[in-house]
Amino acid sequence: MTRRPQPRPSRRSLLTAGAGTAGAAGLSACSGFSTDGGGGGSSTGGGPGTLTMITWAGDAELTAFQALADGFAAQGGPTVELQVVPYSEVLTAVDTGLRTDTPPDLFRVSYTDVAAYRTQGVLANLTDTADLEPAFLPAFWSAVTDDDGTFGIPHHTDTSMVLVNTAAVASAGLGALPTTLDAAWTWEQFADAARRVQPSRADTYAFAVNWQNAGAYRWLNFVDQAGGRLLTQDLSAVSADDPGMLKALTYTRDFFRQGLVPQASSSRGQPASDLFVNQTVAMVFAGDFLLEEIDGAGFDYQATFLPRDVNASADLGGNALVAVEASPNRDAALDFLAYCAGAQQMGDFCAAATVLPTRTDVDPASLDYAVRPDLMPLFVEQATTIREQLVQQVVVPDFSAVNAQLADQLDGIFLGSGDDAAALADLVAGVQSVLTS
């Protein structure tokens, strides 16, 4: 049994194959970054009658978004096709669509990023908001509104609280944790409690704060609690020599100087929730959207309010849903936003995704939360301390650059040495440099 020799390819056949391959590569390149074959129009959508929404989503959130899409279609609206991308890639996906004239019809965006798109004319204006506005809490409505209009709906919110490993704090003899805002620990009481938490091993710590990377802005909670401001009242510059900011810097820097937090939990370090889950820390500042992940760690934990100083203050978490002005399906997209803003739909979404409603007429106590329903009322109460003064500062158009600068500067400050006032001067100069550019 002999094998017949294969004929050698001729030069002509090689050239033909090469041309074919190049043609195919060229055609695939021409298809750009579109994730479906629809194309042809000025939207990434799957064609007329279909809306495309770019979002990030965990399993529970995806189910909740799909329920919104199905409900909208059941009411006679167009199909909403969800394009789920990782959180870190969502803005890149949106920007790529905008640049290639294939924008999504809708996308999900954090409140701190809304202004960057709004000032570039990307977002569609919700013209008829007379009925909607009174239904929303003012702090969230203002996050998507300016003098020119309202450019999205504040879809949900989340905020941080202090989660406490029950066993770790029992050994410290801290007693019952504060269960009302009025009884929340003061800064001094919190620091005292942290010092009393006995680490179970030499390499464990009292707590970690969730200010890593994109969460760097949560350091501003401390500034606001101390009565300070990062930005001036007119939001055009950094507040130089702000005593509240200096007080917050000293207080938070002491966490590292006194060894209360892991050095690795600095603003460019490891996510605080990871350190809590692997029990490196006994307490953690964490948002309610993390409860599902933390609940799987297999130990008991409780929640108490963020410490307070001059003010009680919490970070603006959560996201808006926005429609794209250039979308050929703009009106249908705005209809979908109005549908999602409904009280019933918002309540269902929040219950499924373990986040908080932004409407005043959705009672969180009535929602059937799947994860730690006992803790959600506390988060609701904490969310009432999201102050408009702080919200205004974190929704300025340059906030992405400000936040990145905060992460860099705070990392150096927390892990470095030297005078606090000089460190604050560096931070102010750094943030000012990106505001003026």
Binding site: L91, D95, Q120, Q263, A264, D411
Partner: protein, 315 residues
């Protein structure tokens, strides 16, 4: 004698001005057409995926683009800003330091391992695969492994050192320790390629040369130093250029392991460009940093190439 020689020389052909006939011209055109037909796919791909993005990057670097909407032309403002940006200079210094430390060490280790594999080891192919594996697997996987190995709270290295009563470095929060952890993972991931390249080159050296040197009394070290090493100069040149370019392109490992921290200790130009372009939404500035990285690599490669060529000419 000279006349005799001249008489034996074959007659030179008459030098007449012969113009290429139509058939020769057609042949030249056919050759030209065939050459460009073969080159076209590569040129199209190069133009689409290399040249066009490069030109666009230069264009964006001259604007104040945020990545959204329109951008204004700002001339060389982004480049001027770099001069007074301390983080840029720190990132540039870190990049240079990483190149100075990691390239020679990878070459030295790779060459040494290749020598061992060439002579002594059975099942060389298996070991070659093992050494190349870290280079082939995803940088993110390498970085994730490094992050767990060097975690200063729950990592195996610090746990082991602690168990032995030795001080445990702060791999995430100590600048020097963080840089060392990144270097170790990059060294592990990159050296395998150097081993394979040197091994191939060593096997291409004529064994007669080495045998002759041995018969002349050259020791093992002298054979490596004065025979093998000079013959491997082109390979070393290629590896050096390749490794330097790779150092300037390292992103995934640092991004995942340290994110450029702590306090900028592991920030290099590429990670800084990404942070500025995508996180801070200063796309124009990020592109300008990218263009500078490109120019540095280009100039460094040209310089190294000239030095190499001069050395070969002197030989």
């Amino acid at each position: 004698m000279s006349a005799d020689v001249a008489s034996r020389r074959p007659p030179e052909p008459a030098r007449t001005a012969v113009r290429p006939g139509p058939s020769r011209r057609a042949a030249a055109v056919r050759r030209w057409a065939a050459s460009y037909a073969l080159l076209t796919p590569a040129l199209v791909l190069f133009g689409l995926f290399m040249l066009y993005p490069l030109v666009q990057a230069v264009r964006i670097s001259l604007t104040n683009s945020t990545g959204i909407g329109t951008a204004d032309f700002v001339g060389l403002q982004n480049y001027a800003r770099m001069v007074s940006d301390p983080v840029f200079w720190r990132a540039a210094g870190n990049t240079g330091l990483l190149a100075v430390v990691s390239v020679p060490s990878s070459i030295a280790a790779g060459f040494g391992i290749a020598l061992l594999l060439r002579d002594r080891l059975p099942a060389r192919g298996v070991f070659r695969g093992l050494f190349l594996a870290p280079y082939v697997i995803s940088g993110v996987v390498v970085a994730m492994a490094g992050r767990w190995i060097f975690d200063e709270n729950v990592g195996i290295v610090d746990r082991t050192l602690g168990g032995l009563g030795l001080p445990a470095p702060d791999w995430q929060s100590g600048g020097t320790a963080a840089a060392v952890s990144v270097f170790v993972m990059l060294f592990w991931a990159r050296t395998g390629l150097v081993v394979v390249l040197y091994l191939s080159a060593l096997q291409g050296i004529d064994s007669d040369l080495l045998e002759a040197a041995e018969l002349d009394g050259a020791s093992r070290w002298q054979r490596v130093r004065f025979v093998s090493w000079p013959l491997l100069r082109p390979t070393t040149f290629f590896i050096t250029v390749l490794m330097v370019i790779e150092v300037f392109q390292v992103f995934d490992v640092i991004r995942v392991m340290t994110g450029g921290g702590p306090a900028g200790a592991t920030e290099i130009l590429v990670t800084y460009a990404y942070t500025q372009g995508f996180q801070a939404r200063r796309e124009g500035y990020g592109s300008a940093i990218g263009v500078v990285v490109f120019l540095v690599i280009l100039v460094a490669t040209l310089l190294w190439w000239r030095v190499q060529r001069r050395a070969e000419e002197e030989q």
